[in-house]
């Protein structure tokens, strides 16, 4: 599907309509949103306590499985519905120091400061701009013909699988920019400095899940250790597949630096819209994705509390239809299959396609 291009006047009107939509929701934020995020935080804490208790005090495989599921669910809820959204500043208006993007720290090896740099700034400002948005392929995968092919990409189905299983580590080291170091553009001293928050955060996470809790379980330690490994991996896989469906689906567009130079607010909105894709499902599914099922709305309004995306979606879709922009939404399986298609197809060399020239 080709990119839709709008004239300067259309882009301005388009931007104004979306700004207005944002202002309407922002003016309506209140106790409902505050109660939701507190409830989710509490639910994840209760689930974590239950999961850890089942792993620690149980003996049989059934309680082990239940414990793993409860702990994985706790981590998914905490990372996706609370952590990711709080770190975007979605709840800063509450003025609650414990739910503030400046201070919140989440249950994952990625340090919140690193995350805010790579995700909030780099990924959200430069969504799907090749060379600026490192989240497009994570420096490992070739997902569009515009990306240059290297022999290593032949193995990308494997690297894609490894990234899925170890996803928390992938995002944790992203801000160190190891690529620059290997190209000789970073000194070892600078590397050490950049890696410090990562080493500090990840060592504490490892200690917590793989030393402290197993030790507290005495003879039950192997059960706890394995359970914690399993819960972390389940969380990794789930977050990875959901996030991959956000920007790498068949109809998600990529952009070049030249295309986005000097773009207006309307053009920025249009790029966010065409570079993102939604997943359709039940309310519970939306919740367990941290509302990243609504990646389009999230990218238009990253600082609006995520549960609001559900009510924003029909309005955004109506604006899309009005301006003839494709609204990329489909079920999880069809979207994920189209992502996998890119992973396998672009593992092979293909000619780079010249970027589409703007009409206006």
């Amino acid at each position: 599907m080709a990119k839709t291009h709008l004239t300067t006047e259309q882009l301005d009107a388009f931007g104004t309509e979306l700004d207005q939509l944002r202002n309407e929701v922002a003016a309506d934020l209140g106790a409902r949103d505050a109660n939701h995020v507190r409830k989710m935080l509490q639910r994840s804490r209760v689930s974590a306590a239950a999961g850890r208790a089942l792993l620690m005090f149980g003996f049989d495989p059934i309680t082990w499985v239940l414990g793993v599921v409860a702990l994985a669910k706790a981590k998914i809820l905490e990372n996706m519905e609370v952590g990711h959204n709080v770190l975007h500043g979605q709840y800063d208006w509450m003025n609650d120091p414990q739910l503030n993007s400046k201070t919140y720290e989440w249950d994952i090896v990625c340090h919140s400061e690193n995350w805010k740099q790579t995700h909030n700034i780099e990924h959200h400002s430069h969504t799907n701009v090749l060379g600026l948005d490192d989240d497009y392929g994570y420096g490992l995968l070739r997902l569009a013909p515009e990306q240059r092919w290297h022999t290593i990409h032949l193995f990308q189905p494997i690297s894609c699988f490894l990234l899925m299983v170890y996803f928390q580590w992938g995002v944790a080291i992203q801000d160190i920019k190891l690529g620059r170091f290997f190209k000789g553009r970073m000194t070892i001293a600078e590397l050490r400095e950049r890696a410090r928050p990562f080493l500090q955060k990840s060592s504490r996470q490892i200690f917590k899940d793989y030393v402290l809790f197993p030790v507290l379980g005495f003879f039950n330690w192997p059960r706890i250790l394995l359970g914690n490994v399993a819960a972390n991996i389940i969380r990794n896989i789930w977050t990875n597949v959901i996030i991959f469906c956000g920007h790498f689906t068949e109809h998600a567009q990529v952009y070049t630096k030249a295309e986005v130079a000097g773009e207006s607010r309307g053009a920025w909105y249009l790029r966010q819209m065409q570079g993102s894709s939604n997943l359709l499902g039940s309310r519970y599914f939306y919740l367990m994705t941290g509302h990243l099922s609504h990646q389009i709305e999230h990218h238009l309004f990253p600082d609006i509390p995520a549960p609001r995306y559900i009510e924003l979606a029909p309005k955004v879709k109506a604006i899309c239809e009005k301006y003839g922009v494709h609204y990329n939404a489909a079920g999880f399986f069809s979207q994920y299959l189209s992502v996998m298609k890119r992973v396998f197809v672009f593992a092979w060399p293909s000619k780079a396609v010249a970027p589409v020239v703007l009409q206006s």
């Binding site: 202002n23 922002a26 934020l29 209140g30 106790a31 409902r32 949103d33 505050a34 109660n35 935080l41 509490q42 804490r45 974590a48 975007h88 500043g89 800063d92 208006w93 509450m94 003025n95 609650d96 120091p97 414990q98 503030n100 993007s101 400046k102 805010k116 740099q117 909030n120 700034i121 959200h124 400002s125 504490r204 200690f207 917590k208 402290l212 607010r265 990253p302 600082d303």
Partner: protein, 371 residues
């Protein structure tokens, strides 16, 4: 092992989640709402209607949750009260109108502000919605406006409007302290009898306590109060130590009049602060305000036409920033005081300690930022 070392060990980040303050406080709060995460929890135990515009809230502060107990206050001090209004934690400073006490029970007296459409007024919300049983959060008491420095035998308590609240605390303290060898003149200025806060209590005290002379001036019927007239109302004015609280314009005029009348003793003054409409510049016209940074007390002049991020960078600072278009919140900081306008939404932030994004905020008054 020393206590400090033990404390460090218990607070070590290696022991997460067992010593995670957010988790512990969250659990404690689930058990009892008085266990506030930050600040001191307090429950409203009584609401007294003082006038049609004014209510007193009697608060019982938390006594059980260790480390977050009310430390006791001096008469005349104030506290930063935080309430949750429609999901938002909003704070405002209130003078404590009760004298010092040991049972952790305090009173604050709140006057309804003139309504300002769209913006949430903490005072108005409290007046309309805060009821017995509700839980609020307090800071530890603070302020130099208190009786602790009293040296003179003759005291003048001078207040106007809602400025009576800290002065009343001082009077109540004087009445309660036995054998106090003082002569107190209380001059209060308000619009009319129906605006006279604590009227019946003040008259009752004046009737049974000969040391108190009460002078009430109703500006609604007697005309605007001229501070120079204080000398007529208070014999031997120059011999008094003064406690003064009221609207800024009144307080400044009164201070000048007192010094002119030859008051050589201490004049204790409490200011409720707040910016008047005069400091708010209409959009389009450019003017300048002073910006002060909390950490190094550095201050410089900035234009109302530029955003704070640009202004700080022009001044040679390097505040953290990200997208510069108001989406990533990297440049967000706490505004200690002053008014800013959000250039993206047009919202005005005028309450103290609100979070603002530097890249989309323009000054509308002198500012202090927690940078």
């Amino acid at each position: 092992m020393s206590t400090a070392k033990l404390t460090n060990l218990f607070q070590s980040s290696w022991l997460r989640p067992f010593n995670d303050p957010a988790l512990i406080q969250g659990t404690a709060r689930a058990l009892n709402p008085l266990h506030k995460a930050t600040g001191i929890g307090a429950r409203v135990v009584e609401v007294i209607t003082e006038t049609t515009e004014c209510k007193t809230f009697v608060l019982q502060t938390n006594r059980r949750w260790p480390g977050k107990r009310w430390p006791g206050h001096l008469a005349g001090q104030h506290t930063l009260l935080t309430v949750t209004i429609n999901g938002r934690q909003l704070s405002r400073t209130f003078s404590i109108s009760s004298p010092s006490s040991t049972n952790g029970r305090i009173a604050i007296t709140v006057k309804r502000a003139r309504s300002n459409a769209k913006r949430i007024s903490v005072s108005n919300w409290m007046f309309e919605h805060l009821a017995v049983g509700a839980v609020v959060q307090l800071s530890a008491p603070a302020g130099d406006f208190s009786l602790k420095n009293q040296t003179e035998a003759k005291l003048l308590l001078l207040s106007a409007g809602s400025g009576i609240t800290p002065v009343m605390a001082i009077l109540r303290e004087l009445v309660e302290s036995p054998g106090a060898d003082v002569a107190v003149t209380f001059v209060h200025i308000c619009r009319s009898e129906s605006d006279f806060i604590f009227a019946s209590e003040l008259r009752a005290v004046a009737a049974r306590w000969p040391a108190l002379r009460l002078v009430v001036y109703f500006s609604g019927t007697q005309g605007r109060f001229v501070p120079a007239r204080l000398a007529e109302l208070v014999p031997e004015l120059s011999q008094h130590e003064v406690y003064l609280c009221g609207p800024n314009a009144f307080a400044n005029a009164a201070y000048g009049a007192l010094r002119d009348a030859g008051v050589a003793h201490a004049i204790h003054q409490e200011s409720f602060g707040g910016f008047t409409a005069a400091t708010d510049t209409a959009d389009g016209t450019s003017s300048e305000h002073v910006l002060t940074l909390e950490n190094n007390k550095q201050s410089f002049t900035i234009s109302t036409q530029t955003n704070l991020l640009d202004a700080l960078e022009t001044a040679g600072l390097n505040p953290a920033f990200g997208c510069r278009i108001g989406i990533c919140k990297t440049c967000q900081c706490v505004k200690r005081s002053g008014v800013v306008k959000n250039l993206r939404t047009g919202e005005i932030s005028d309450a103290p300690n609100e979070l603002i994004q530097l890249c989309i905020s323009a000054p509308r008054s002198p500012l202090e930022l927690a940078i």
